[in-house]
Symmetry: C5
Subunit: 155 residues, 5 copies
């Protein structure tokens, strides 16, 4: 049985974890979910590490929300670098989902992006966990997007 | 009994530690506080590490102050990256509170941000330390803010 | 017999792995290829690490695709830093190939860059794996380029 | 007896080490000084590490000089990140003093900044080494500055 | 006898290694040189690490060439960070020489910078390897430059 960590923040303006968990359970109703909520994105790396090393998760999805100031962007860099370090330390996938306030022109659009991205990346994580390194190979180079419609390959 | 590290700087223009300590003691009057003051934000990572590894703290709150020049922003990046490394090394939360001089238009506004942010993040740390990974889950995706009023979720 | 890891993404808009694998097999028809496909560039470091440590690869080529927004560029930084960490951890070459959407004026040009860069870097990796540290020395300082024609040395 | 490392560069345009050493010896005439001079700031991290691990220093002050180009600023980021890593590896303070050519309008002003910053940070290091984590606590949040006059707390 | 690693790239437009090796041998005709050529700057860290750990080098000089786009600058950051990590892992000097295409107005000027910088930094490395931490101390704060004439100290 697969155990999946879901780490999210109180800073986010959409409950992305709800959609990620739904998507996980659609793929595997027996998947065990472990939840970890932190204040902001810079707290996600240690949460992801603990989900793997203390709570025995096979993989983690983190759901971050990034403001539009320069400071927010710099915080994004360090949070994402931290999540890569967690992966190199544990050799487990931690799918780093972030929604950036500057990528949409309205709150509603941001909300749609957040929901779509959380769902699709939850499915990506499950495929990697259940089927391994070649699970996504049929879509390699296919221009898939999360949060927006796929752009497709360049023909 | 919980032992909480409070690391701050002489560079800051507000004694944020005072407000953080107040908030910690409101939540748990028996919490033991260990204090560490350094010159500036780049000195905070080693202080946080020592608070955990040498002084036995269960978690740390760091209180940084960031000038508005490009150099200050770059120092913010390396300091915050260092604090994430401390967390990954110790598997403890280090809540990285920073006030940026470019986020307010007057010193008084900056002071209010500093106080509010120190208090709210001290409470966040205590909840994580006392109640664990799901302590903040009721507020996941709720658009909480520290230093300013919450913006709330996108409905 | 050499075992080569090929890690790519579903985000990319060109199936660069196909061209990399062709180039590898032209140089060594007996080379064993291990494939790993992930959603985006930030997932490549853990894939590269697993290809080396779990799947026994002697070297890896990663094929990333980077959008043109600031967020994409920052993601590039952390992904590439992660790939360097993998190399320092394993002492194996991981050739980090990326195509950036802002480096061409049309999708077709981007496609040509992607194909050329994947092929040439696959050959670079094979030369390093098969012939060692001085394999590329005859071309040191010669202004070679991947994705575009060589610019040559300054005479 | 305390042993203090002083690492500096040939790139700098002021002999900051002279002023740092003076300040160290004013505080503790018995302090033992170990000197390490490198070409530029990116060479300081390994010098600081060796001063601690091979030469037995209890703490280090590094004296860097940063040009005004983007490349210089990026070199500053990696040098400072390296110095934080040294601190996390050794659990010793390494006070990272840098003077940036873009922070003054004349060479003479830059020189004054360099001297003042070297002196004050040498004192900060000595206080931390001799008196520990609360040595600087009376000045926490007091808006101290090195290189310029203190700005003081926001009242 | 000192063994020196020289790592360079096929991306560079000047054969800087030739000038670095000449300078090394002028200082110590018995110095043993180990050469490692890689495609680009992001491949230099693992080459430097292998030169030290597998080929027994006492120190390394890396000779990188950096384009003028934002992507090139970001690649510079990660390559240089990687070289600092190699130094912290091995406690050996790795002198990170880079020539940036945006620092000169003509190819010929770039070539002169490259040659001068490679030579001077090769001498710096040899002095550190042969004479230790105080070898360069007579020039501390003297405003030395590599690639251009020295600017001298501020009087």
């Amino acid at each position: 049985m697969v155990r999946v960590g879901v780490a999210d923040t109180t800073f986010a303006r959409v409950d992305m974890a709800r959609y990620a968990i739904e998507a996980i359970q659609e793929i595997d109703p027996n998947a065990e979910i472990v939840r970890y909520t932190v204040p902001g994105i810079k707290d996600l790396p240690v949460a992801a590490l603990r989900l793997i090393e203390e709570f025995g998760c096979d993989g983690v999805i983190t759901l971050g929300w990034v403001g539009s100031s320069l400071t927010d962007k710099l915080s994004y860099v360090v949070a994402s670098m931290g999540l890569i370090l967690v992966q190199l330390k544990t050799r487990r996938h931690v799918i780093d989902v972030t929604v950036h306030e500057d990528e949409a022109s309205s709150p509603e659009e941001l909300r749609q992006i957040a929901i779509d991205r959380a769902r699709k990346h939850a499915r990506n994580l499950m495929m990697l966990l259940l089927e391994g390194p070649e699970a996504l190979t049929p879509w390699a180079g296919k221009g898939l997007r999360q949060g927006r419609p796929d752009v497709g390959p360049i023909e």
